[in-house]
Symmetry: C2
Subunit: 198 residues, 2 copies
C-alpha cells in the first residue's frame, strides 16, 4: 500500500482491465485524479449508462441501444445478404470499409472443441432459422482466418447447403501494403491459388 | 459512428486517457460491457470516490485521504530528513525500496523555462518555509536526472545554503542489472566519476 486507500482502489480497478499493468494503471488513476470532478463524474456515468443501455439485437445479436439494431432496422440495407462474423467488434471493422451494404449475423464465438465450444454454444441455430425463413440470397462467411474460424466457416457452409443459396468466404491473401518477404508461406500459397486475372 | 451511441461515448471516454488509442479503448469498453452490472457500478463509484476523497497534505503536498498525510503523521518517520521529489508518484517509488525513513516534499513539477515554469510555479516557497522553521538536518534532492531535474536540484541547493544543512543528490550510475555495452556515455562517465571504494 504505497498510495492512499481510495487511490489504491482506483488503481486496482484499472488493473482489472485487459492489457493494463500496474504502471499503466497508476498513470491512468493519476490522470483521473488530475481531471475535474465533472469529468470524473461524466466518466463514471458513461460506464454505468453503457452497461444499462446495453441490448442485443434480436435479429443479428449485434450490441445496440435499440432492438432491432440500427443496421437491421435500416431500410436501405440489403436484407438478402448476410455477413456472418464471430464478434460484435468485427461488424465495426467491416462497416469502416464502407463497402458492404448487407446485414450481419454475430455468432458470439466459433466452434472450438479444444475449448469445449460446440455448434450449440454459438448462435448457429438462430442463423439457420434466419436463413430458412427469409429471402436470403448470399451468406458471406467472415470468421477469422485461423483454425477455428475456417472450421466454423466449413461447418456453416455444409449446414446451409439444403437452402440452396450462394455461400462465400472472405478472400485470403497478402495484405495491402504488405511485403512478400514478410508474408508467411500459407498466406502466400493462398494468394497464388486465388490469383485474379487482370 | 460504428457502435451504438452509449458504447461510442464509453470508447471516447477511454480514448481521453493517456496512452490509450482507439483500438485499446474499444477493447476496454467491451471488457466493461462484458462484466456484470455490479462490477460496472463499482468501477464508476471508485472513480468518483477517489476524486472526492482526494486531499493534498498541507505539509508535503503528497496526495492523501487524510491531512497531514500518512507519512507526515507517522511518528516513526524521521522528520529531520526531507526527500524532495517532483511528483507524488515518486514517493511511491521510493517507498517501495523500504530504505528511506524520512519525510518528503513534493514540488509538483520542476523549473523549466522552456515550458514557462519558474521557481514560483512549483512548491519551492513551501520547502524553504519548512526548512527554515523546522529542525531539518538533511535535504535529499531526488528530482529526475534530466536537464530540468538537475537544474532544479542545483537551484534548491543554492537556495538553502543559508540554512547550513546537509544537501545531497541521489547517485547517478549504471542501473543494477544493466549492461556496460548499452549504457550511454554520460551515465558511464558519471559512474566512473562517482566510483566508490570497496
Amino acid at each position: 500500500m504505497n498510495f492512499s486507500a481510495s487511490i489504491e482502489k482506483l488503481i486496482e480497478e484499472f488493473e482489472k482491465l485487459p492489457s493494463i499493468g500496474h504502471k499503466t494503471a497508476v498513470r491512468l488513476a493519476f490522470h483521473i485524479l488530475n481531471s475535474s470532478t465533472e469529468e470524473c463524474e461524466k466518466f463514471a456515468e458513461t460506464i454505468v449508462n453503457a452497461k444499462k443501455n446495453l441490448r442485443y439485437c434480436s435479429v443479428c445479436n449485434n450490441i445496440s441501444d435499440t432492438d432491432p439494431c440500427e443496421i437491421c432496422s435500416n431500410a436501405k440495407r440489403d436484407k438478402e445478404m448476410i455477413c456472418v462474423v464471430e464478434d460484435v467488434r468485427d461488424i465495426a471493422q467491416i462497416e469502416k470499409t464502407h463497402e458492404y451494404n448487407g446485414v450481419y449475423h454475430v455468432l458470439n464465438g466459433v466452434i472450438s472443441p479444444m475449448n469445449g465450444i460446440g455448434p450449440n454454444d454459438i448462435k448457429l441455430k438462430e442463423l439457420i432459422t434466419r436463413v430458412g425463413s427469409n429471402d436470403v440470397k448470399e451468406l458471406i462467411l467472415a470468421t477469422n482466418p485461423n483454425v477455428e474460424g475456417e472450421a466454423t466457416a466449413m461447418y456453416i457452409s455444409k449446414l446451409v447447403k439444403p437452402f440452396n443459396l450462394k455461400v462465400t468466404r472472405i478472400a485470403h491473401g497478402i495484405p495491402i501494403g504488405g511485403d512478400l518477404e514478410y508474408v508467411d508461406e500459407v498466406t502466400l500459397a493462398k494468394a497464388l491459388e486465388n490469383r485474379t486475372e487482370l
